[in-house]
């Protein structure tokens, strides 16, 4: 809200005696993530990157998980912003859903390590990731609102919720799997990553048509 949600690793040289370390740590973590991937993201490495002792982070985060949570939160904000952008660029309402899906998966491909952290740190908690659905601009809520706006009067809130979950699950699955090397030939045949993405999304119908509407 107050801070710009960009991912750029800005080496913000705040020459306070001991500057805003909390912020510096999150930035350092994001920098390591983009540079070396999730497996290199140790608490000690983050401290090293930020130029402090290995124990310093513990004065700002309860444990490693809480640091990861903060990093993930930044990621969700950035995702939400990217999806907002995508909707803003769409010409009419019926394109919104497509553009949201494309923006979602593209984001996950541009920041694979961040995306992984976003989900990983919530998997162990059995609850939705922090920042994913916290406010109206958050990614999940945008999808739901898009559904609600394009829904007819006979569509219940429950229907909207279920449809949102379905769409979200599909996008998430695509985000995690579209990087597999086995899909490279397919992508080439279709003419690029985004074409592949749209191709898969367009085949959702073929799947759905074989599922009877509710039991």
């Amino acid at each position: 809200m107050m801070q710009p949600m960009t991912l750029e690793a800005i080496t913000d040289p705040r020459p306070y005696h001991h500057g805003d370390l909390r912020r510096a740590l999150v930035d350092a973590a994001a920098r390591i993530l983009e540079r070396e991937g999730p497996s290199a993201l140790s608490l000690r490495a983050v401290a090293r990157e930020a130029g402090v002792s290995p124990a310093a982070p513990y004065h700002h985060f309860k444990d490693k998980g809480e640091l990861l949570d903060a990093v993930a939160h930044v990621g969700w904000d950035a995702l939400g912003e990217a999806m907002n952008q995508a909707v803003a660029n769409a010409r009419d309402v019926h394109e919104h859903m497509t553009e949201l899906g494309v923006a979602y998966v593209c984001f996950s491909q541009r920041h694979p390590a961040l995306y992984r952290v976003m989900y990983d740190c919530s998997r162990d908690r059995d609850s939705l990731p922090e920042g994913m659905a916290d406010n109206d601009d958050s990614a999940y809520c945008m999808v739901r609102e898009t559904f609600r706006k394009s829904a007819g009067p006979d569509v219940t809130d429950l229907d909207v919720e279920l449809a949102t979950i379905a769409a979200w699950c599909t996008a998430h699955g695509l985000a995690e799997m579209s990087g597999f090397a086995q899909f490279a030939p397919l992508k080439r045949a279709l003419g690029g990553d985004e074409a592949f993405l749209r191709g898969v999304l367009s085949h959702l119908g073929a799947f759905a048509r074989r599922i009877p509407p509710q039991a």
Copy 2:
């Protein structure tokens, strides 16, 4: 070198010095997974569980990752079997797709730790998990075959492949997310986990209808 490069193509019943340790290690790992979850699955814990020294596994697996691969392979075989079962129980062909999806997600909920390992160890490799699509009975190939059989004559192989990927991604997304606590009220309203599952799957159409068929 003397062993076939394809992972345990055949169960080699070679009672070694201390028995078939390789198999014992995989079993021990699976046992720990079900009992204590993925975070407790250390190489040393596996060795402890199997009653051998911490260095013993290195005579059967190059590193921890290779052990995990073997565990995941067992998991994919089990998933394939569960899906085979589901198809066998379906009354007509048009139910196959639904039952496959249900079987997939149910498996992931019955063995959450195993399911996580199945994907985790392939994520770092950027290729499809071993055992996922290796033979005709494997999970992925079953979905593709179901699509092929129920497809009209005008459907190309590429279409079948894309539809398979779409269905797979959706199921995977559902498998990973349906455990989130936020969905509990929804599940209760619908009358249980499986009803929730079918509910979400049935709303795939609502999503797809808003996506224009191919660019």
